[in-house]
């Protein structure tokens, strides 16, 4: 496998676009990424598209109908919340293998106000188990993951709430974020409960969005980058749930992420202390807390202490090991298929001191990681370096 670089990126501000179509949103992000890379659609040799809600509808090909039909191979990817990051990995693999020199990844989703409600299933609704045999809804599932941490380490609801306060504060500096309002600890604690301990502000919002990246081989980079600093993909890892004793009932987001994290650090030849910024999958505040430990940003059982000492906060706020300086899914939004590519865009912007990270730039960032999990179950981690 050879070195692959991110030559260009594009992202539509996350929000609600009822007047637009999925191919339009994806096409806009693709055009931005091509412009940023200084390439045209005729230069792109392979395209991987991530989308979940229209997974049966050839979204990638419809994006090319918007931006240029050149006859290239298109892969449409669906992998729950890891859909976009899996598409990015496909574009990476196609380039790293030596088969193509210029590839494109787009993640796009139009959710409107609909959340991830789970499959319709068919059959007699009398045999539906939701609410009758517990809950498989995401706020409750991730609530349980947080409660497992409470059980093991005595973590308090306030710690989860503090994460929401932090991420909302970060979002005020991100013009691409769906929400840019600050919330206080009281706001978060007293907000409407959705799935204990996750209150409304500890749950990511629904919405629409798109993000894109152009990936190139090292030789192509020399031709096209024109001396501009570009981020290298130092590790691209994808894992699925290993068997664990409770995985029939409690999706093991921790084991899944730990395995991916170990592989990613080994592949990149670095450790967690080298990482200047992390964009991780904070679909709920409870998820972010457990991932601090899963990604090695602090020791096992130390997440609460990490939060109390401003771990995860931007250095401008007096913090260290910044996490989700974009505002995270909690503020930036979580259009499922777009999320993975958007997380990578954010990391790339900091590493290359791109003006799109200007106000929230993490100083001297040389290494960053983007983490996404999808239930159930996939985990991607991309480590990027300059």
């Amino acid at each position: 496998m050879r070195n692959v670089y991110v030559l260009g990126t594009g992202m539509v501000k996350f929000g609600r676009y009822p007047e637009k179509s999925v191919p339009e949103l994806g096409g806009e992000a693709a055009l931005m990424a091509m412009k940023d890379a200084g390439v045209a659609i005729k230069d792109v040799e392979m395209f991987a598209c991530g989308n979940l809600y229209q997974a049966n509808a050839m979204v990638g090909q419809r994006i090319l109908q918007q931006v240029g039909q050149t006859g290239i191979p298109v892969i449409n990817v669906s992998n729950a919340c890891a859909t976009g990051s899996t598409a990015f990995r496909e574009a990476y693999m196609a380039c790293a293998s030596g088969m193509y020199d210029v590839t494109m990844a787009v993640g796009v989703e139009q959710m409107g106000k609909q959340g991830l409600l789970g499959g319709a299933g068919g059959g007699d609704p009398a045999y539906g188990t939701e609410g009758k045999l517990g809950s498989g809804l995401m706020p409750a599932v991730f609530g349980q993951a947080g409660i497992e941490h409470m059980r093991k380490y005595g973590t308090k609801m306030e710690h989860f709430a503090k994460i929401s306060v932090k991420s909302h504060k970060h979002a005020t500096k991100n013009p691409f974020s769906q929400y840019r309002n600050e919330v206080s600890l009281e706001d978060v604690m007293n907000a409407r409960m959705v799935g204990y301990p996750n209150t409304l502000y500890m749950c990511c919002p629904t919405g629409d969005g798109a993000a894109a990246a152009i990936l190139v081989s090292e030789d192509k980079l020399k031709q096209l980058a024109g001396g501009r600093k570009r981020a290298k993909i130092a590790a691209s890892v994808l894992t699925s749930d290993p068997y664990t004793d409770r995985d029939l009932t409690l999706p093991d987001v921790s084991t899944l992420t730990r395995r991916a994290s170990k592989q990613a650090y080994e592949k990149a030849g670095i450790g967690p202390k080298d990482v200047a910024l992390t964009e991780l999958h904070d679909c709920f505040a409870t998820a972010e807390l457990v991932h601090y430990e899963n990604l090695g940003l602090c020791g096992d059982g130390e997440a609460a202490k990490f939060i109390d000492t401003k771990g995860g906060c931007h250095p401008d706020l007096g913090g260290h090991a910044p996490v989700n300086v974009s505002g995270g899914l909690l503020s930036k939004g979580h259009p499922l298929g777009a999320t993975g590519v958007a997380n990578i865009c954010e990391v790339v912007w900091h590493l290359t001191q791109d003006e799109r990270a200007k106000e929230r730039q993490v100083p001297n960032a040389k290494v960053g990681q983007a983490h996404v999990i999808g239930l159930g179950s996939a985990c991607t981690i991309h480590i990027l370096t300059v």
Binding site: Y127, I147, V194
Partner: protein
């Protein structure tokens, strides 16, 4: 003619195949005779822990267990009454089960989650719906052990 007999049976139906009704309602697992893993879904082509085929054998599961973790669901699909407590119960055979926890004060659990951990619970059943043919559909719940 077994199928016809089944179709005209007016008795209650379990909401999931691993709930066995009758005089002693209980759950039935499928235990791998090679590695010991227990599964609740009967229609399975192999053991997902060790990968071996032909090793799964039915095993009756205990009606008593302990709460591992829970959450309180305040927002759900239309038509589902909230709040309710979703719970994961560890059974002594070494398998966990997800269901509703009833006869507990959810506000107390939210104030002090420790009250829920390791709570001894027991299985109960109740009719939760009627299917299209008019049969009662029975689900199982857990309540604090008496």
């Amino acid at each position: 003619m077994a199928e016809e007999a089944q179709a005209t049976d007016s008795g209650p139906r379990p909401i999931v195949p691993f709930l066995k009704l009758g005089s002693n309602p209980h759950l039935e697992g499928q235990k791998c005779s090679s590695c010991g893993a227990i599964f609740l879904d009967a229609k399975r082509v192999a053991c997902s822990k060790c990968g071996l085929t032909g090793t799964l054998k039915p095993i009756p599961l205990s009606n008593k267990g302990k709460v591992y973790v829970f959450s309180v669901v305040h927002q759900s699909f239309p038509g589902i009454k909230t709040p309710y407590v979703t719970v994961i119960v560890d059974l002594p055979e070494g398998v966990s089960v997800r269901s509703n926890l009833i006869d507990v004060n959810h506000e107390e659990l939210q104030k002090d989650p420790k009250k829920g951990f390791d709570m001894p619970v027991e299985l109960v059943t109740s009719v939760v719906a009627k299917d299209r043919e008019g049969h009662d559909v029975v689900a199982f719940q857990y309540r604090p052990s008496k």
